[in-house]
């Protein structure tokens, strides 16, 4: 899964390298900057992965947490070991979180690496027009990866809850991924503007605020708060469901 994610920045870098030139202002933001600065491969790859690839992989991992064990039948042996239901749930969520942290990090670092290999690396122009050195740019890249990791916490909790609902892992994965798509679609409907700040995907693309000078931390904080809320709500739901669940698989 992480390898599939790592392929995204590699594809982007190779495609840009092979194509003649990217006209400014076309395609995903930052794409036109790649030829001037390889570090933008990481940013572009993260931007491209946010709507689908990251939620998809996180949905698969989070949806598999409990339902995967139930599907294999190993859940009953873990429980009679006894692993403890709460402990098992926490360990499983920690696993999903670890993946959510690793996934954007892999995209960012592989992107920066392949970018550095194929393109020049130098000072990075921020959205505000100011330039920062490559070292600080790498820091920003890691910050964005952290932002995306936080952004995926809520989805991971939703996946965990979905995973406690069924013994069929594919069902939990699919419903989690579908939910992330639904959330993004709702976020695009202007008629539902009142709902937008409550959608877990609402701030996903605001990682761009980390590319401003000075950094606009508001979206990071708001996003973290929102994700925290989702983790609390769906964590409590997952707890309620899993602790009372009859394990019959």
């Amino acid at each position: 899964m992480l390898c599939a994610l790592a392929a995204i920045p590699i594809l982007i870098a190779v495609a840009v390298r092979l194509s003649s030139s990217v006209p400014p202002g076309r395609g995903p933001a930052f794409l036109d900057r790649i030829t001037q600065n390889g570090l933008f491969v990481g940013v572009t790859a993260m931007l491209v992965s946010v709507p689908l690839f990251l939620p998809l992989t996180v949905g698969v991992v989070a949806g598999d947490t409990v339902a995967g064990e139930a599907g294999l039948g190993t859940l009953r042996y873990l429980l009679v070991a006894p692993a403890g239901r709460v402990r098992l749930l926490l360990v499983k969520y920690a696993g999903a979180v670890a993946f959510a942290v690793a996934a954007p990090l892999v995209v960012a670092l592989v992107g920066a690496g392949i970018g550095a290999a194929l393109f020049p690396v130098g000072p990075v122009t921020l959205l505000s027009g100011d330039s920062i050195g490559a070292a600080e740019a790498l820091q920003r890249l890691l910050l964005i990866a952290a932002y995306l990791a936080v952004s995926l916490m809520g989805l991971s909790a939703i996946g965990l809850f979905m995973s406690t609902l069924t013994d069929v892992p594919v069902g939990a994965m699919a419903s989690t991924v579908v939910l992330s798509v639904v959330s993004q679609v709702l976020d695009a409907l202007p008629q539902l503007e009142w709902l937008h700040p409550w959608l877990f995907s609402h701030y996903w693309l605001d990682f761009a605020d980390l590319l401003r000078q000075p950094i606009a931390w508001e979206s990071f904080l708001t996003n973290a708060l929102l994700q925290g809320g989702y983790v609390a709500v769906f964590g409590a739901l997952a707890y309620g469901r899993f602790v009372t669940k009859d394990v019959l698989s």
Partner: protein, 383 residues
């Protein structure tokens, strides 16, 4: 079973706690002492006297005027930029340090527009197409402002003058205190006395401590939500980091030099305006106060190519057409907006918003005002 119910408790309690937290957070914070009572004149005086020259803050602007949203940061052209700024919600960061250093950052999605002034240097930058514009201000630009005759009034005089001017058309009151960016503020309310205008009220939030205006809210008649509002969501009254005002265009950016007219030329009318006036294309004003109607003679306003024809030419009406920074493109965006928003009315077409109506007559004249359509039509018929 009680055990089962106990285990579902967190799932019920957590959303309840969050809901309670959100509700209590969104309630108007009545914390802090109420501000001492002040008359409108005293509040205006505070504004005139306020000495806050250094600040950094975030401005939030929303508008619900019933206009379609324009693509954000679509083009760097100043002609459409103002329209775009009026139609959608925006967040901007503002940095001020004295009169000579300022920076405004309009935070678009995945992009940013900057205006930076550092002494004589003036920079504009749009990250969307990586373009910058530079202007060198005349060295005495600010000295001139202060020396201008007629402006050398004391704050008291200024407040009195303003009140006297407003008196005929507007009721000026101070409403109940409001909270803006976490600060208690006086709420200066301007309510038009005339029924003929679309404007219901204008509310200006004035910081109770410093007199700094913190926000403006314009309400239209018959609309509960403000039609237009701009206010700080956060504010620090300290000098920002000096590095913020140092701007050099990034490598690879297209830089355009804006010629600045010299002192004498600047004192006169801008060339284009002067030309327009010579050609008899200056707007005329009928009515007074809030109900004033501006009339632009035919040809004064750039209209879409087929304005009279009705159906827009799809090729020119596409607002997303690339390369909109050329004048053609500018017109295209304006035209597209017009085509989208205009409805046919007897004698022409109407662009109607909750605050302003614009009537484009079939003969090419354009009437605009914060008044209902009937008054525009009445103003259009020659007496």
């Amino acid at each position: 079973m009680t055990r089962t119910w106990l285990r579902w408790m967190p799932a019920a309690v957590v959303p309840a706690v969050i809901a309670a937290g959100v509700l209590s957070g969104s309630l108007p914070a009545s914390a802090g002492d109420p501000l001492p009572e002040k008359t409108p004149r005293q509040v205006l005086l505070m504004v005139a006297q306020h000495g806050e020259k250094s600040l950094s803050g975030t401005l939030e602007q929303t508008s619900q005027m019933g206009l379609p949203e324009l693509p954000k940061a679509g083009a760097g052209s100043p002609e459409t930029a103002w329209l775009e700024l009026l139609t959608g919600p925006h967040t901007a960061r503002v940095y001020l340090d004295g009169p000579e250093k300022a920076r405004v950052q309009i935070m678009d999605r995945m992009a940013e527009r900057n205006a930076v002034r550092n002494g004589d240097e003036l920079w504009f930058y749009n990250s969307k197409d990586n373009t910058a514009a530079h202007a060198q201000l005349p060295a005495d630009a600010d000295g001139r402002h202060e020396a201008r005759p007629g402006t050398a009034t004391t704050p008291e005089e200024l407040a009195d003058k303003l009140l006297a001017k407003l008196d005929a058309s507007t009721e000026v009151t101070v409403g109940t205190d409001v909270q803006v960016a976490g600060r208690s503020a006086y709420n200066l309310l301007l309510t038009p006395t005339s029924d003929a205008t679309l404007v219901d009220s204008v509310a200006i939030a004035v910081d109770g401590e410093t007199g700094l205006p913190l926000g403006v809210e314009v309400k239209a008649r018959g609309q509960a939500e403000p039609a237009f509002s701009v206010a700080y969501t956060s504010l620090t009254l300290e000098a920002p980091d000096a590095a913020i005002f140092n701007f050099t265009p990034p490598p690879g950016a297209t830089v355009e030099e804006i010629p600045v007219p010299d002192h004498k030329a600047a004192a006169a009318l801008p060339p284009s305006d002067a030309a327009a006036a010579k050609a008899g294309k200056r707007p005329t004003v009928t009515g007074t106060g809030w109900a004033s109607v501006l009339e632009f003679p035919a040809g004064a306003v750039a209209l879409p190519g087929k304005a009279q024809g009705g159906a827009p030419d799809p090729a020119t009406a596409n607002p997303l057409r690339p390369g909109t920074s050329d004048p053609e493109g500018t017109r295209t965006v304006a035209a597209a907006l017009l085509e989208q928003a205009a409805v046919a009315v007897p004698g022409g077409r109407l662009v109607s918003t909750s605050l302003v109506n614009v009537l484009i007559l079939n003969d090419g004249r354009v009437l605009a005002g914060s008044v209902p359509l009937e008054r525009l039509q009445a103003a259009a018929t020659p007496r």
